[in-house]
């Protein structure tokens, strides 16, 4: 267990919840909800960038030297070879999607309740961010399980 893993997960999941909020607010947008969605999306962007830094710092300082060799030597090396490798690259999509969702909200904040297409576009983006963040959490679980199974195979 490492504090940076927890920090990365908490920042990422709260960032995802911010976009879940945006998703819900834009299902039936009005002036108050759009204004609130803009503020919440900005918070979401900041949290997802912080999750990027926290996860990246952990990956570079701890994971590669301590966790990766243990997983690779354990019974489920695919937890690293497939899931860490996938997660570390697909994660990079998320902050840019968050910037796009926030940017569209800011750009069209006065037009969203008149143009349903724009609201639907932002709803789709927000839903995608939420789904991807939860997919990251799922892959994180697989990677942690790979580490634990490697340790258990040595201790038990």
């Amino acid at each position: 267990m490492h504090i940076l893993v927890g920090l990365h997960a908490v920042l990422g999941e709260i960032g995802a919840l911010a976009f879940l909020w945006v998703f819900v607010d834009l299902l039936n947008p009005n002036e108050t909800r759009i204004k609130r969605a803009c503020r919440v999306a900005l918070i979401g962007v900041i949290l997802l960038f912080l999750a990027w830094f926290a996860g990246g710092y952990y990956y570079l300082t701890q994971y590669g030297s301590v966790v990766k060799p243990v997983i690779k030597a354990g019974p489920t090396p695919w937890a690293h070879d497939i899931f860490t490798e996938t997660k570390e690259h697909i994660f990079l999509f998320i902050p840019f999607l968050a910037v796009l969702a926030y940017g569209l909200l800011e750009r069209y904040r006065d037009a969203i309740h008149e143009n349903r297409n724009i609201a639907v576009a932002i709803v789709i983006l927000s839903g995608l961010i939420v789904a991807m963040a939860f997919a990251m959490a799922g892959m994180g679980f697989i990677i942690s399980s790979g580490f634990r199974s490697a340790l258990e195979s040595k201790i038990l």
Binding site: I90, F96, L97, E106, N115, I118
Partner: protein, 99 residues
């Protein structure tokens, strides 16, 4: 200054595909991976920094573009890029593991 949504959508789509390309290239070409390591100390930091730079560069290149006539259609391209790009990366590492 107003945000240009065409530039933002193109920057996002371009960055997604740049990440996919850098991911595959760094695994298939040791010289490209070495180049990434030599620029930032670690291939993942280099990919992160380059993805931000690519995003900014594409955004600035299209900053004077007309706003899209159909935002939903443009966002659908981003959505398809994320799904397809994600599948390419995942499938690539599955293939690498089993090959």
């Amino acid at each position: 200054m107003k945000i240009n949504s065409t530039a933002l959508i193109r920057a996002t789509t371009g960055t997604i595909w740049a990440i996919v390309a850098m991911t595959l290239a760094s695994e298939l070409s040791p010289s490209f991976k070495n180049f990434l390591v030599s620029t930032a100390g670690h291939h993942w930091i280099a990919k992160s920094v380059f993805s931000v730079l690519i995003f900014i560069l594409i955004y600035l290149s299209f900053i004077k573009s007309k706003e899209p006539r159909n935002v939903l259609k443009s966002v659908a391209v981003v959505f398809a890029s994320v799904i397809l790009g994600g599948l390419v990366i995942f499938s690539f590492f599955v293939w690498q593991y089993f090959k």
